[in-house]
Subunit: 130 residues, 2 copies
């Protein structure tokens, strides 16, 4: 029974850590403009590194380092076709980060509407007293 | 006339740089779990550093460093009331980051529905041929 409990704790802890580290990694990756541009480009469909690197004034090895960061963070993968590697995006890995920011906005907006309700109620009460 | 054009270019360039550097900074700040927790807490209302630091197993100087990062990035400010500094959040500074991630999701979802449309059309055409 106790073993089950420890196993349960291990799983929960693992999930919490995954969730945390996923957010740490995703936000860290997104703090660089080149990496954001690569992600935007890959959201339109899979591409080779050569094609992805074209718009950037950067050496191919320097560009490949950015690709390695994205790959190590589990945000992109590739499939091989002959001599070429086609990179594609793991879109679902960005969902938690988007949710985190949207939750922040929702909370803020709900607070604003509480304030509006409070002001409106006070206004009505003030009006009734006249 | 040419002067107007240069001024216009300067303004546009300035705006683009602001937008880029704002995203760089916001995402970089968000890559740390302590800073995310502080932001979540401040989204509920203004607080002193002492109150904010309470849940963390961290020295006050170490915690203050995180506050300094948030302050330098223009994400929090404080007002003085007697001996106390009350910190509050600049919620609007997170909007661009949220929009960037939501745009990524919208684009992905619109692509998915294009694929659905394509598959449905093909299915119908296939059905008609029978």
């Amino acid at each position: 029974m106790r073993l089950h409990f420890y196993f349960f704790c291990f799983i929960v802890n693992h999930m919490v850590n995954y969730y945390k580290s996923n957010l740490d990694q995703v936000f860290s990756v997104l703090s660089d403009p080149t990496r954001r541009a690569i992600i935007e480009e890959l959201s339109k469909g899979e591409k080779t590194v050569k094609k992805l690197a074209e718009p950037f004034d950067m050496s191919l090895p320097a560009f490949s380092k950015h690709m390695k960061v994205l790959e190590n963070a589990g945000l992109v993968s590739y499939r091989k076709a002959g001599r070429y590697k086609y990179y594609y995006l793991h879109q679902e890995e960005f969902y938690d980060a988007a949710r985190w920011l949207n939750d922040l906005k929702s909370f803020w907006e709900s607070q604003l509407s509480s304030l509006e309700r409070y002001l409106l109620n006070n206004e009505e009460e003030g009006g009734n007293k006249k």
